[in-house]
């Protein structure tokens, strides 16, 4: 018996609905249908009047959640795809994100964003929005990479009083399995060493953690010991853990599945250069997707995002310096 990443998300929502009557779910096709990815399967039946099918109105869905949060509830809104949150962008960044600073009233909403590419998903069902939301003050942006984190970070995220953008990776939904959900977990805001090493640090998050670990495994026979840091949350960003790792290795590669211009990897490089220049043996490197829309065909898609091969190449370049 094993637990997948999406099982963990379902289990977390079940636990939240069971234990906290402030929690309700709002989203498209999440009721009887159980969600486009079955992340809410069975919840509508188990929790009558707590799980609602919404109209296809991303803006109004988030607006409704913000209003409910003012009233003391803890809504979880499922965006069917992170890509569609662009329609809700205004309510997220202008209503939810500014509310605490403007009025002193925090907005504890959680927006679940099925993110990232899977083969054949194409330009509008594959996007990663974490960099965009992290850019706005007032939001917490979570990017769980493990089954346990998918579970605990959703529960911990809902417990936070601030708006949480919960980026769950679609590729990990059924690909990633664990024997059970580990009870040990780090608090939100703390990064994790996914794989220890001493020659270079790869900072990654979400699905890219697994690609980075696979790349590190491939370099192992050559004698390279690569450390992989799983950010877990991209905002707040755990600079302490990153710097501690870079202090051990002297080399940094930041890997993200998002588009290359700006974003989380750029922020990591910038912060390490600013605060840890003296720790570096080589110019820090970054690896992102290509600077095009995400292609549909699996062959193009596989080459659009960072892969273990391209991460290995980047690491070899970094280690040669």
């Amino acid at each position: 018996m094993s637990v997948t990443y999406i099982d963990a998300i379902l289990a977390a929502q079940e636990k939240l609905l069971r234990e906290d009557d402030r929690v309700f779910l709002y989203g498209q096709d999440i009721g009887v249908f159980g969600g486009a990815f079955k992340a809410t399967k069975g919840l509508a039946a188990a929790f009558p009047n707590r799980v609602f099918d919404s109209p296809i109105s991303e803006d109004a869905m988030i607006g409704l959640a913000v209003g409910a949060a003012i009233e003391g509830l803890r809504p979880i809104v499922e965006m069917q795809f992170a890509d569609f949150s662009s329609i809700a962008f205004n309510q997220i960044v202008n209503q939810a994100a500014t509310h605490y600073y403007r009025t002193g009233v925090p907005i504890p909403i959680t927006v679940r964003m099925p993110s990232g590419g899977t083969p054949g998903s194409g330009p509008f069902h594959s996007q990663n929005m974490e960099g965009i939301y992290a850019q706005y003050p007032g939001l917490i942006v979570l990017t769980p990479a493990t089954v346990a984190d998918a579970f605990h970070m959703l529960i911990d995220g809902v417990a936070l009083d601030d708006p949480v953008i919960y980026c769950e990776h679609k590729f990990l939904y059924r690909w990633l399995k664990a024997k059970s959900i580990n009870n040990d977990h780090l608090p939100i805001g703390q990064a994790r060493i996914a794989r220890p090493g001493k020659h270079a640090t790869v900072v990654a998050y979400s699905a890219m953690v697994h690609e980075a670990v696979r790349a590190a495994d491939r370099l192992q026979p050559d004698g390279w010991e690569i450390e992989v840091v799983d950010l877990r949350s991209v905002k707040p960003l755990d600079l302490d853990t990153i710097l501690a790792s870079v202090a051990r290795t002297g080399r940094l590669l930041a890997v993200g599945e998002s588009f290359p211009w700006g974003g989380v990897t750029a922020e990591v490089i910038s912060l390490v250069s600013e605060h840890g220049f003296h720790l570096l043996d080589a110019p820090p490197q970054r690896l992102n997707s290509r600077d095009t829309p995400i292609p549909y065909h699996p062959k193009l898609w596989a080459s659009h995002r960072p892969t273990p091969e391209s991460i290995c190449d980047a690491l070899r370049h970094l280690l040669r310096f």
């Binding site: 919404s54 109004a60 869905m61 607006g63 409704l64 209503q95 605490y100 403007r102 009025t103 608090p187």
Partner: protein
């Protein structure tokens, strides 16, 4: 483009036709409602005139946006709502509604003048003020965004079992009816059957854009039908008509009649903000029926119906002017925000969270 005078009427086939109370019909309740609404109109007008002169004297950082000409609609809505029970998300030209819903003069003057003691503490200004936990959300500038938010507050009250007898209300202008947020939210409140009253003050100009460049339907009230809302159309310059329609729309919503939309026809009697002289408003519009000043319309009606005497009006004017002067003076003497002492954090969570 000219609007034809339109009697207070119902336009909502899905909602049964109402017998609207005639303007001349008197009752103690009517008298109290109309006096209260008128007081809010008068106080709002005096307050806004003062804000305008403070702006022209350079005392206000940022803009000043006035509701002159919209006081009847706004005050009638605010008076029909119950502070402490209902939710009211006012928009840019709702000083009268805010006052009617119980906003203190100091909340207004402190926000405009940037006092750190105001509800927005210098972090947001002018009309972007509110007290969300007291049922008054603070508007954002993006038009139509407040409708879904009020819907969410009502939705939550329903989940908590606290919706009985509660109404939510919010206002927009004709311009906001073109936004995606407006349409998404109208559809959503129809689907969720929430007791929400949305008031569209069609003041004929969205900033400078006239109705014929804003929408192509005959009357915005047609949009209510499309979303399954009760629809009401009213002469926004007529306090008595506004009072009747608002009270009825709010009563319908409160008693389970579902969401209601009121379209008020009027003319914005000022520029978009005090920086704008509204040169683009043709004289024909100003001289039109809807170009009337609603306060000028209300006074003879109230006096003729014996609700108010001219002496009372004079006394209120004096009293309100003094109240406004006091609120301005106090806010002006209060501290403004100190960037060195500002808590520059946008979230309430304090990281790191210890394990």
């Amino acid at each position: 483009m000219r609007l034809q005078p339109r009697p207070a009427s119902l336009y909502a086939p899905s909602v049964p036709t109402l017998d609207l109370p005639a303007a001349s019909e008197k009752s103690v309740t009517d008298r109290d409602f109309l006096r209260s609404a008128f007081q809010s109109m008068l106080l709002a007008r005096i307050l806004e005139n003062k804000l305008s002169s403070l702006y022209k004297a350079g005392k206000i950082v940022g803009g000043v946006y006035l509701g002159r000409g919209q006081e009847s609609v706004s005050a009638a809505l605010g008076t029909a709502l119950i502070r402490g029970t209902d939710v009211f998300s006012p928009l840019i030209r709702d000083q009268a509604g805010r006052t009617a819903f119980g906003e203190s003069l100091l909340d207004c003057t402190r926000t405009y003048l940037g006092s750190v003691l105001g509800p927005m503490r210098g972090r947001d200004g002018n009309v972007h003020r509110g007290r969300p936990l007291e049922g008054v959300p603070a508007m954002i500038s993006h038009l139509g965004a407040q409708i879904a938010l009020v819907a969410g507050m009502l939705f939550a009250k329903r989940l908590k079992g606290q919706l009985q007898g509660v109404v939510g209300a919010t206002c927009v202008g004709d311009g906001a009816t073109s936004t995606g947020a407006f349409h998404e939210a109208l559809n959503l409140i129809g689907v969720e059957k929430l007791p929400l009253v949305i008031v569209v003050a069609n003041n004929q100009f969205a900033y400078s854009t006239p109705n014929n460049r804003q929408f192509a339907c005959g009357d915005l009230i047609e949009r209510a039908r499309g979303y399954g809302l009760g629809g009401w159309s009213v002469d926004g310059t007529d306090l008595f008509a506004c009072a009747s329609v608002m009270r009825e729309a709010v009563r319908r919503a409160r008693e389970g009649g579902g969401p209601q939309m009121v379209v008020a026809h009027l003319l914005r009697l000022v520029g978009h903000g005090e920086h704008d002289d509204a040169f683009y408003v043709p004289d024909a519009c100003r001289n039109d029926h809807y170009g009337r000043d609603c306060i000028d319309v209300a006074i003879p009606q109230l006096v003729a119906n014996g609700h108010v005497t001219t002496d009372e009006i004079h006394a209120w004017q004096h009293q309100f002017a003094a109240d406004v002067q006091r609120a301005v003076a106090q806010a002006q003497q209060e501290a403004t925000p100190d960037p060195y002492r500002e808590d520059w954090t946008a979230i309430s969570t304090r990281f790191p969270i210890s394990q």
